[in-house]
Symmetry: C2
Subunit: 460 residues, 2 copies
């Protein structure tokens, strides 16, 4: 029979087991922190009705959507568009979920969601068609206190501290502040503001000259001074808490929107400190606009201080109304998203991920087939103590069994031969420490537990 070539589609991340373990640990750390801050899990189906999913989106998004059809033709096409499509983010499904289950949820509704999303992008290095998003959102009914805007950075801080991937900065801005300032500089129209914000968003990529020229060009026609003031504005960065407050204060209250933005961001910063986030880990960055149009207040980006090239590893903000396409209820919210697949990929590329230890901690070797029942008993005891254990069931040379453990990243190898059985001991080979010792059978679990607790830490 002709063989089919075993291969995956481009643009997906498929990992070997040890890498998968490292990735799983990352997700577990994220999830653990989300839960510690009182966020509740939800999961939504990977497929949504196309009309629900594409309610708002225009052509750009639609071209990136994967449509789904079974050959059984259970699903109809509606006006040429297949009835089902794969979610491209977790925000639209959240909006649909909250609208659908509104009367069964408690508000403020604090949800986390860690699932894969799909985009039919042209394949290129570092771009994924399938990737994990790890989202938290707090959704209020009718209103949601600005205080929640300060809780989000506390979660971000906790997550990235525990991921242990080096120093990072949570960068904050507020869209009102930006909008107000643009207004005061003569860009009052909402559409022109949006356009200007998109141009300003290119500051890091295209540089200050490009942005100034655009602002003075045909679409905007600003004076040199106004363009300069806007450029100065978006280049404001703070270093430390007091500096951030000073810089906000210096912006003054040119108009009501600007004043509101300054007040909100000031209050947010004060509360972030009260949440226990060290001032070394947050700053204002008045260039942050975020692409999505629906952010209306606080916006966040997070960057690794020593790896700016990676870009934002966690972004989000405050929005006015989550689910206006599905319900008349007014549902303001604030949230962030971590693109875990891309983050993992980037960290690996940057050499920031060490070699993961296997989830399997112990290999019970088979020195003598006749003692197999003892090996199984030993493994049972370890497993009952919560120590992940594999038993060699197929004999073979002991050296080969050691080699297997080494290649598989298993740290402890146990040997139990007639000698040990007579003495009531077990020989333990510690492959990480390149060490070997004998312990009384009765002390084994305790000894391994102590050793494992000492060194098991985060992947990095």
């Amino acid at each position: 029979m002709a063989l089919t070539q075993a291969r995956t589609m481009p643009g997906v991340m498929e990992l070997l087991p040890l890498d998968q373990i490292a990735f799983q640990r990352m997700l577990d750390t994220i999830r653990g922190n989300f839960e510690r801050f009182g966020f509740l899990p939800i999961e939504t189906p990977v497929m949504e009705f196309s009309d629900v999913l594409l309610t708002k989106q225009g052509g750009e998004t639609e071209r990136q959507v994967y449509f789904v059809q079974s050959t059984g033709a259970l699903e109809k096409s509606v006006a040429g568009v297949p009835e089902l499509a794969l979610r491209f983010d977790l925000t639209v499904p959240l909006a649909r979920y909250v609208a659908e289950h509104e009367h069964d949820l408690n508000f403020p509704f604090r949800r986390y969601q860690i699932q894969r999303v799909y985009r039919g992008e042209r394949a290129q290095r570092g771009r994924f068609r399938e990737f994990y998003q790890c989202d938290i959102d707090v959704i209020g009914k009718d209103a949601l206190s600005i205080r929640y805007d300060a809780e989000i950075p506390a979660v971000i801080y906790s997550v990235f501290r525990d991921l242990n991937i080096g120093p990072f900065t949570i960068q904050l801005n507020n869209r009102k502040l930006m909008r107000g300032f643009f207004e005061s500089q003569g860009i009052g129209d909402a559409e022109r503001q949006a356009h200007a914000l998109r141009e300003v968003d290119k500051l890091d990529k295209r540089g200050a000259d490009y942005v100034r020229d655009t602002l003075m060009g045909e679409g905007f026609g600003l004076t040199v001074d106004a363009a300069k003031r806007i450029l100065d504005f978006v280049q404001v960065r703070s270093h430390g808490h007091a500096d951030a407050l000073d810089k906000l204060d210096a912006l003054g209250g040119g108009n009501a929107t600007l004043a509101e933005g300054v007040a909100e961001l000031t209050q947010t910063l004060e509360l972030i400190r009260a949440f226990g986030v060290p001032e070394s880990h947050y700053a204002i960055n008045l260039s942050i606009a975020r692409g999505l149009d629906y952010y209306t207040g606080t916006v966040y980006e997070t960057t690794l201080n020593e790896h700016p090239q990676i870009g934002s590893i966690c972004s989000g903000g405050r929005y006015e109304n989550l689910a206006s396409n599905y319900t008349k209820s007014h549902l303001p919210g604030v949230g962030i998203s971590i693109g875990a697949t891309r983050l993992f990929y980037q960290l690996r590329e940057a050499g920031l991920l060490g070699t993961a230890a296997s989830t399997v901690k112990v290999l019970v070797t088979q020195m003598d087939e006749a003692h197999l029942p003892r090996y199984l008993e030993l493994a049972n005891e370890l497993r009952s103590a919560g120590i992940a254990t594999e038993v060699v069931l197929e004999g073979g040379k002991l050296g080969k069994q050691f080699k297997y453990a080494d290649r598989a990243g298993i740290r402890f190898v146990l040997v139990l031969g007639s000698d040990e059985i007579a003495k009531g001991t077990v020989t333990v080979k510690d492959l990480r420490k390149q060490d070997q010792f004998e312990v009384p059978r009765t002390e084994l679990v305790k000894t391994l537990r102590v050793e494992l607790e000492q060194v098991e830490a985060m992947p990095a």
Copy 2:
């Protein structure tokens, strides 16, 4: 603007947060046990190339497959079949994975995989188009000891003991035993055997009379005696370890295949006992054939003793060659699959799932807005101790805050007013025990930890 109705497609299970927590606990219990037995995680993309996914399958499966296409037409159709499709199980992706990464894997390769699969089934109650499968497999290179066939039931036992959903029985059979016996009764041809096995598989649903009539009918033409012997054979069940061995022994060695089957199943049973599985939890059931054609040795089903109507909650077996469509390597294996979505649904229908406690353990109320920084500090302390804590950030009446905690399934509510601050205490309301007490601030974490450890158990 006209609203779009927020709704999900039929045939998917979307849960409210407390149910999602119960479901997540079920998956965590399964995963924890898989890891304790030394299985390694992998994840594969939800989409595979259609030619890879549908290598072997005929029309039946193809009709149930969801095909995927982006409107950007990045993916081509090959002879009218879209290039991509959603996986319909985890076995084909495993075969593809092992063939693709063969040289980077250690054999025996022990993998677990917990992901969703997709089938374009006609929607009906209890049938899902999207559902979780939790699979383990051990894959050998060239050969795989029969001993691994005994380890699988040890994992099954451990999983369902920990899920705590009532007494269950792991039922075993061996396809060789069945094949040999059928041969000895005059059904020697492989195709007729497969046909007969499919008929025998209907024993529970259609009854003995139907199966006997079929075996004596046109397709088979067996004598009354032969049909009776086959029916007697497939109705063999054991009660206890010794009984199972006796009944296997009584089958004798009518031919080589039968003798091999008896020997394999006997050895498997002996090792299952050595693995520490209580004899009350396994039995032979010679009617088990399993639908899939590729099982060649041991086959498993697991049923809940008190809920036979649920059917098998965990099934699998031994197969001769995992990935013959993709590689010339000979890769025998043994594995099982738990359909977690269906299981959860069935357990809930049968009333076997209690109300889950929230992942959020503590709500810090906002008695006095002025003390907000203290509330945040308190929450920080609890979170650092690993206690999932939510803080009320938006004030309001205390009674309303209690009600929120109650509805959300949060057990402990903390009150910290000026009185408590003066005394250095915290008032704790235990909503589960309907109890209220005051503890010194310094004792709070310890007290809550003790309380939480006492009662946090499995969902059931």
